[in-house]
Symmetry: C3
Amino acid sequence: MTAPAPLTTAEAVALLGATARGRAVAVRRLVDPAGLDGGASPGFPGDGTVVVVPRLDAAGWSRCRAAGVAAVVTVAAADADLPAPDAGDPARWLVADPRLALARLSRRLDARPPVAAVGVHPTAAIDPDARLGERVAIGPHAVVAAGAVLADDVVVGPGSCIGAGARLGRGTVLRERVVVADGVVIGERCLLQAGAVVGSDGFGFASGPRGAERIHQLGTVVLGDDVEVGANACVDRATLGATVVGDRSKLDNLVQVAHNVRLGTDVLVAGQAGIAGSTTVGDRVVLGGAAGIADHVRIGDDARIAGGAGVSKSVPAGEAWGGYPAQPIARWARERYLIGRLEAIWAFVKGRA
Amino acid sequence: MTAPAPLTTAEAVALLGATARGRAVAVRRLVDPAGLDGGASPGFPGDGTVVVVPRLDAAGWSRCRAAGVAAVVTVAAADADLPAPDAGDPARWLVADPRLALARLSRRLDARPPVAAVGVHPTAAIDPDARLGERVAIGPHAVVAAGAVLADDVVVGPGSCIGAGARLGRGTVLRERVVVADGVVIGERCLLQAGAVVGSDGFGFASGPRGAERIHQLGTVVLGDDVEVGANACVDRATLGATVVGDRSKLDNLVQVAHNVRLGTDVLVAGQAGIAGSTTVGDRVVLGGAAGIADHVRIGDDARIAGGAGVSKSVPAGEAWGGYPAQPIARWARERYLIGRLEAIWAFVKGRA
Amino acid sequence: MTAPAPLTTAEAVALLGATARGRAVAVRRLVDPAGLDGGASPGFPGDGTVVVVPRLDAAGWSRCRAAGVAAVVTVAAADADLPAPDAGDPARWLVADPRLALARLSRRLDARPPVAAVGVHPTAAIDPDARLGERVAIGPHAVVAAGAVLADDVVVGPGSCIGAGARLGRGTVLRERVVVADGVVIGERCLLQAGAVVGSDGFGFASGPRGAERIHQLGTVVLGDDVEVGANACVDRATLGATVVGDRSKLDNLVQVAHNVRLGTDVLVAGQAGIAGSTTVGDRVVLGGAAGIADHVRIGDDARIAGGAGVSKSVPAGEAWGGYPAQPIARWARERYLIGRLEAIWAFVKGRA
């Protein structure tokens, strides 16, 4: 563990946009509120800890005091009903958005070891024709092929493979055993989880006289900045042109993005969802877990697709759809309601038939 | 192939709790009953083979004799109607549970080569600050980071990566290219299939002024004893605290277990099923293939979820649910029945409207 | 990039079975028709390019001329309404099947770098008891275990692992980090995408007195010729005997094929679909994305299963099924129609109850 520097009340106020109540403290560790009930969080409670409790009530406040945490972060709106912190009590840092505060504390107090030590591990196989920026870290048994370009501060985890001519933007991190195939272009500050594959061949065949003939996939993949790709998720290269994932879009584990898909910016794709070939997904779209989108359709900006939904046609911007086959959520709910009336309907029909 | 020692009738009686009929034999190889029909099993029939036929009838007995197997294992209840084995016939080993007998024979007669030869392959990258127990085997190009602790008899397959501070219990086996990320704790006698990822980051973001901000995942994963994780399956680390998989639970290929999920003991999760964040799954639960469970729900002990089901709310202990959205199986079946009456209902309504 | 030799009109006529109109040209690069509208294809338009426009109309022809492509491939039937190419115009290559022409052009003009340079990379860990044919290429950090046999022209990508006694047929290509476990048999000209796992253990357990006991999976996997396996897809080995994938069958990314499944020839399995244990799938079957097939059923030859369908029983040859639970497509459509009448039915019942 690489211990982060202590976070003081003054820094927390700036980092979180918080109002601080109670004593000035310094925290080193973010702990799980479940630990307040004697739960599983190792090492809890302890000195120098901070906990985020989205909406603190009197009972929660008692638990925080009993646990001896140094500071508790909660929504400002919940503070009015609580007693002021005493001299020995935890500090209270009041924020507008506890989840955003959690994100920032988690980053600031991240003590996890880096994926790879700074520098290039002696077992990494780096082609002499690859270009590495400043402070690039490459883990054991990683492979970087000819013509690959890694910008400053790129981290390549152990066993990851970077293909010929691929480009990784500044600060992008590949965890363990990631594949970035030849020619793929990845933006800045992206994070690819273990086992992710970017740039595998799209699934394209033509019927020939002796069975399917492969359509070679000559295109590429372009990921924008701040994109994340989950563990063992796959993004296929385009047949021609590029499969595109827009800035700040996040793909969860085991997601499939087929060839020639275009994902907009700020898209969230939950685990095991899949998007078939040549489909376009607008900005800020949210796909629930295991949702499936057919090929050659268009999901409009800000649309939301329920978990498990099977979308076989285009979805207008801003709409929420669910079901299999998917339809607008309100219509799906109405359909479920009417199906729930079938017992009464059937009794009525039987009684009069 | 590493030939196992021959299994004698006496040993089989003890191993399987069997009653032996016919001659005393010794077997070296467990063969596929499909091979009795001249099917695909290579090298079948042959001397020194044993076959498990769950319920042996006269025709099956004839095939076993013709094939020249040394012994046939079947359920005791099926034996009464068969002629006693003659001197040259296969032995019959009668058991209460042929499937359990199959499990034990398969283990006893496993001739597959070990994942990695005993010892540490010279190409493995072992940090000097990792601690290795007795008889640990580490395959080519595996990576073990600083602070990792591998108990006695651990096997790490080729290309597998073990992160900083991870701990593997005695006798745990990682096959090819497994990732156990930093800080993950794995119990004894676990088996992780090729490509499994344990300890990838949970999918957690907060909305910030410039798009999603990552919630760093500072927690870990704890797998109990005798846990199995399938090929290319993923278990995410918790945001804080731990994602937990209880003793003897088994995850099939391509399963997704999200952050902060708690799986009980003896849980079976079939291929491509997924469990979203912070959901609790009780003991002895069975999830069918591609079933999906929403986040923040609770699946009670002994519940059974049908393949393909989409569970969006909590399921009481002991219940069987199916459908999308999922509901109790009996209600789902009734709903399917009533939908099947719609043709008649519609005809009735049209006739009277 | 390894520039392919230019493709002349004469060669194209032979390769594509095309009728050529207009001037004789030579092309080096296949470009994306989306680029005709000033889209994403890098380097488009340009000299020496060919584009496939499945059905060319007057507007498309104008765009091709404006873009300066050297040749356009289109269906012969569309040509009658277009003006004859002038001297400076692109050539028109008329074919019966533009998609098949695309496949052949894509192969002929594939300029992607090979997965691994010819030869064995010095960091590959090749057991001295492995047998390698002529012109075998093995990438960095690949692992080939004892007794493995690689036929001529096999390519093993970086980080791929080949288990003891596995056999790869002539011309088979493994991309990055593929796992072919011990004893697996793969035919000729197969293509395994990054992260694919072939030969992981099937998911088989028996209930014992102290919980599940693993049924060791002693069988293997046999892939025919010209089989493709997608990125992070899994094919489990059989308990006994073999899991079989027939010639020319293609599995997309994240597909799961469980133990003892038998897939016929020319089967297409789209992304994230799964086939449970011991199920038989006939020849030329097509499974849509995320379709799930239960265990121990039979899908007849030429059956077609819709994306997202959940098949829980056998499907007769030649039928198209969809829905969850799946049923014949026409019945599913009728059911959806009748559910759409529920609003009227319910109003009728309420008005008379």
